[in-house]
Structure formats: C-alpha cells, structure tokens
Amino acid sequence: MQESVPRQEIQALSDEHLACRAQEGCAASFEELVRRYQVPILHFLRHKSFAVDDVEDMTQETFLRAYRKLRQYRGDRAFRPWLFTLAYHVALNAQRDKRRAERARPMQEAINEAASQPDSQADPEAHRRLWNVAEDVLSQPQFTAVWLYYVEQLSIREIAFVLKRSNAAVKTTLFRARQRLEPFLQEFAENNESATKKRQTPR
C-alpha cells in the first residue's frame, strides 16, 4: 500500500497526526514515525544489558506492536509516551525471557559461553558512565523513569502513563532513583579531580 504523498508534507505533520493517518492505512505516515523514533527507541532499549542484535529485534518488535495496536491509539493522547509504553513492555518481556533462559541453562555452560565471547563491557570508559551504574543499581521502573525524564524529557504525567502509576508514585520513583545515583556522581567527580591533578603534576 504505497501512496505518493509528498515527503515534505509528511515531515511537517505532528506525530499524532501521522498516527491517525497510519490508522487509516497511510503507509508513508507510519514509515515517517519509524524514521523519527527508531533512534530514541533503540537508544532506550540498548541500556537493558542486551546484545546488539537483540536490541534491534526488540526495536522491530516495538514498531510491529505499534502497527498492530494502531487501532487502539487515541488521537487525543500524545504519541511518544504511547510508543514508549510498548517499548517498555517489550523490554520487560525480553528480560523475563532472558532470566528464564539463564535459569534453565546449566551454570558451566554459561561460564564457558561467557569466557569464549568478547566481553562487551571491556570498554575502559564503561565504569565511568553513570548510565551503566544506573543499570546495575536501579530497578526497572526507576531506570525507565529516569531515562524518560532526563533523556526523552517526558513530563511526569506522561511517565505515569508509561509506567501505569500515579503522578505521585512517579515523583517518588524519580526521587529514590536520584538518591541512589547521587553517591556515584560524587565518586565520579572525585575520580575526575584526582585524574586532573595527576596530569597537572610535573614529573
């Protein structure tokens, strides 16, 4: 179903308008939505400790779900939080499947596989990334709330829609997440300071 719609016209439309047109069968509108949100969704899903191929599969799955559920989308709601809700659930399902697979796998097999594959965390800068720390110390809802607030700049109400919680619960979640990350931020700042002093010290 290809329609010859001017690209400039498509690009000028809002996300909600494009979603409504896609509901009516406009393939070009949905393609534009994929173009706009491929990177944000991929970026969001990448911080879930999955392999690169898995992240791309999850991104594709998110958009497929969005296409199938387009009939449920209400045009009066913002499209971005609706799409991130789908991505959030795709990530939850994938993590659950991953945990099940790991539990079912014999421990020695897991150790051998980890030893044979290149360490994806071998990046020397990885330990200095606050987001890597956030992945380890924050719960799934906390991480998602922090990401959506600081990176995607969604409002509290929109984050509440994604997480299916109240506005007050989201604020509490964000507050607790910040409390857990603050000590690490101080640690990073101290490390930076000492590294700077070492470089400045003459030999």
């Binding site: 179903m1 896609a22 509901q23 009516e24 069968g25 393939a27 949905f30 393609e31 994929v34 173009r35 491929q38 990177v39 991929l42 970026h43 990448r46 791309e56 991104t59 594709q60 958009f63 497929l64 296409y67 199938r68 387009l70 009939r71 913002a78 990334r129 606050l130 987001w131 956030a134 922090v146 990401w147 607030y149 600081y150 990176v151 700049q153 969604l154 409002s155 509290i156 109400r157 929109e158 506005n167 604020k171 964000l174 507050f175 910040r178 990350l181 603050e182 931020l185 990073f188 700042a189």
Partner: protein
C-alpha cells in the same frame, strides 16, 4: 518541545542539577546513529503485517496464519466446547431425561401395586339419607364383605420376600373377627 505539566509547584528535587546534567550529557554522547538497514527491516516487517484498516475477516486470516496464535485459538475453542458439553450433559441428567420410574426395585414395585390395589376397592356410591339408613341396617354385612375383599386382595398380592409377613397379617386379621359367625346368622 517537551510537554512539562507539573501539577505540584514544589519539585525542587527534579530541577536541573549536576546529576541531571551528567545523565543528559552521557546519553547525548552515547546516542546511536540512524540505521538505514534497521529502518528497511522494520518497514518490510510492517508491510507484511495486515493494515489496521483492513476488515475483520482479513485480519482474522492473518491471525490464523500465525502458528502460535492459531494453536492458542484452537486450544481455547476446544476448552470452551468441552465446558459447554459438560454443562449440557449435567443439565440433561438433572432434568431426569436419562431414566424412568419403570425400572424400580421389586419391593418398591410391590408397594406401588398394593397401593394401586387398595385404590381399586370401589368406594360406596354417595347415598341419600333413607338410603343411608337402609345401608346402615346392613352395615355389618357390607363391612364384612369389604373385609373379605381386602383379605382376598392381600392374599392375591404376594410381596417379594414378604409372603410370610403377608400370611401372618392375614391370619391376624381373620382371627379376631368372627366372619364365620356372621355368615351363619340369616338376614331378617
């Protein structure tokens, strides 16, 4: 432009801080590049899926062609059919369509026969007052005749495994009543 609608005025803990700046900067640095291959892959997958505006029958066909969902649909349909069948069978049995009262035990059937027999004794027809007086004068004979009829019926109806008791009952009924004496006195 992001939509920030805070309902409460006090949200100092969410305001810009070193932590929020660091988180944003890191995310910006790590942001992946747009992938044409991934985009093409997604578009291709979406084109293979049925359009959200298609009719129900077409979407059902697409749903049917997915093996895992088809199996789930078949399983749920089978479970529903089984539940309906069980409910119908239970209703049919409860409404007594499955059996009749004709196959009752012999004792019960004997009881019913005796009960029917006692109902077969003809009741005296309704009579006017002079007829009642006339009947009253011959009452002993009528009563005796009715007794004799009853005894004959009891004798004729042999209960299963209760013949002995029926015989004893008959003898008890006969002995206190001098039926033979009434028969020797001629009516006046």
């Amino acid at each position: 432009m992001p939509d920030r609608k805070f309902s409460e005025p006090d949200h100092d803990f969410l305001s810009d801080s070193p932590l929020s700046e660091r988180l944003r900067d890191e995310a910006l640095r790590d942001r992946p590049a747009f992938s044409l291959s991934l985009h093409a892959r997604i578009v291709q997958a979406v084109q293979a899926a049925p359009s959200p505006s298609r009719r129900f029958t077409e979407r059902f066909w697409w749903f049917w062609t997915m093996p895992e969902r088809r199996d789930l649909l078949l399983l749920s349909t089978g479970a529903l059919a089984a539940a309906l069948w069980i409910a119908l069978t239970a209703w049919w049995l409860a409404s007594d369509h499955g059996g009749t009262t004709d196959s009752a035990a012999p004792v019960a059937s004997g009881n019913r026969q005796i009960a029917r027999g006692s109902n077969d004794v003809p009741a005296p027809p309704p009579m006017s007052p002079p007829e009642v007086l006339e009947a009253a004068s011959s009452l002993p004979n009528v009563a005796i005749r009715q007794f004799q009829n009853t005894l004959a019926q009891v004798d004729a109806q042999k209960w299963a495994y209760l013949d002995h008791d029926a015989t004893v009952a008959k003898l008890l009924l006969e002995s206190p009543f001098p039926t033979g004496l009434a028969a020797t006195v001629p009516p006046q």
